[in-house]
């Protein structure tokens, strides 16, 4: 089975655990890596320090990014990604408890691909995560030939 690396940036251990459990159950094709604050996320993506070993810390296909993070906010990390010469087109899905309009507008203005609000509804979370797994597979290998024949 082809696996896809996703970087989950989240400071709350409980939230990391919920997301990790959901991925194990609903998207086993995803290798989930974690960063616990904004600076660590940037270090991971840049391959700095302990993250220099790309066998242990593979470059992710996409990032799941919380907004309210210590050391550097999720919006700052997003801005950094979008300005980075090689990472700028990496998909970034905000996964946050913030439903404030300001955060939403700012995230999209900075180039977020999606904005997802965290849920404690575990079956719903698993469904979303399953979708992220499929999305990662499409990002890794976009369809070149239609699955079915052309329309009549």
């Amino acid at each position: 089975m082809q696996t896809y690396t996703v970087l989950h940036v989240e400071d709350e251990p409980a939230d990391r655990m919920i997301v990790s459990a959901a991925f194990k159950k609903a998207a086993p094709n995803v290798l989930l890596k974690a960063a616990i604050d904004g600076e660590q996320a940037i270090a991971y993506l840049s391959g700095q320090g302990v993250f220099a070993n790309r066998e242990l810390h593979p470059m992710p296909l996409l990032v799941l990014l919380d907004i309210k993070l210590p050391r550097k906010s999720g919006l700052e990390v997003l801005e950094w990604i979008r300005k980075h010469p090689t990472l700028k087109s990496m998909p970034v899905l905000m996964l946050t408890s913030s439903s404030e309009s300001n955060d939403l507008d700012r995230a999209y203005a900075l180039g977020a691909n999606s904005y997802l609000v965290k849920t404690v509804d575990l079956p719903a979370m698993r469904e979303i995560v399953r979708g992220i797994g499929e999305y990662a597979a499409i990002v890794a290998a976009p369809p070149t030939v239609e699955k079915l024949s052309a329309p009549d």
Binding site: Y115, L116, G131, E134, Y135, P143
Partner: protein, 269 residues
């Protein structure tokens, strides 16, 4: 929810928007919107192009509503979109003070009219700006309407000539247009767009993949706006999978045109 149900539920906090590419669809919805307001005893203010004004009057008459007595009593007022907008442009840009003086006074007069239970407005000045490629000016004008509504609550309905399937329309533009409103009406009321987009997605991505993606698409918060399923999916595709979006939307277009032709044909029978 059908447009009729949406118009029936729309209160003074509603700021509805319609993306359309067929005048006939717009005329049908605007006529429903006006009729609903008239039945509620609201005063109706319509700011539209001359061609659309003619079309709306015809559509209202065809649906059994005589417009002449309503217009005579000023329960229904039509204003020319270009002339009205020209009255509050300064150096080509919408000016809040002039807008408030012009539109605010029309709304206040309509509200104060004897027997008025509220005001319902429809406008397409923003579409004139959009068609000139002036998205910033259009969203600023939408902001003026929203600012006015804070002191003069009214139900508002806007329309834009937007084809959501057109390759040149970007997700950023669509999102900017949508985000100043409370609800986007579906392009068509019989689910033609939804059916066309789903069919194209399934053919290009596979049914299992689409089924897995849908909860992710539905969970995505686009703005504080109620969106129809098809438009939500198109926005998500454009923003998250641009190369796939192009393929899906090109194919969806051919299905959509077929579906619309079938619906129009069935409607004529």
């Amino acid at each position: 929810m059908t447009p009729q149900e949406t118009f029936a539920r729309a209160g003074s906090r509603a700021h509805l928007v319609q993306f359309y590419s067929e005048d006939v669809v717009l005329a049908r919805n605007v006529a429903l919107y006006i009729k609903e307001g008239v039945e509620r005893g609201e005063r109706i203010v319509v700011v539209s192009t001359a061609a659309h004004t003619k079309l709306f009057r015809e559509q209202l008459r065809a649906s059994g509503m005589a417009t002449e007595p309503l217009e005579r009593d000023r329960r229904l007022q039509f204003f020319d979109a270009q002339e009205t907008m020209d009255s509050f442009l300064v150096d080509g840009e919408p000016d809040w003070i002039r807008f408030e003086q012009k539109i605010g006074s029309v709304i206040r007069d309509a509200k104060a009219a004897p027997g008025s239970s509220g005001v319902r407005a429809y406008g397409e000045m923003v579409d004139l700006l959009w068609k000139q490629g002036r998205l910033g000016a259009a969203t600023r004008l939408e902001g003026f309407w929203n600012r006015l509504r804070r002191t003069e609550p009214l139900t508002l309905f806007c329309s834009y000539t937007v084809d959501v399937l057109a390759p040149g329309t970007t997700s950023v533009e669509l999102q900017e247009l949508i985000s100043t409103h409370s609800q986007l009406l579906p392009a068509r009321s019989n689910g033609e767009l939804e059916s066309a987009v789903n069919r194209a997605m399934i053919e290009i991505l596979g049914a299992a993949t689409v089924e897995a993606l849908l909860p992710l698409i539905r969970a995505n918060v686009v703005a504080r706006v109620v969106l129809p399923e098809a438009e939500r999916t198109v926005l998500w595709l454009r923003r998250n999978l641009p190369p796939v979006a192009d393929k899906v939307l090109i194919r969806a277009r051919s299905y959509y045109e077929d579906e619309c032709a079938r619906s129009n044909h069935a409607g004529e029978k």
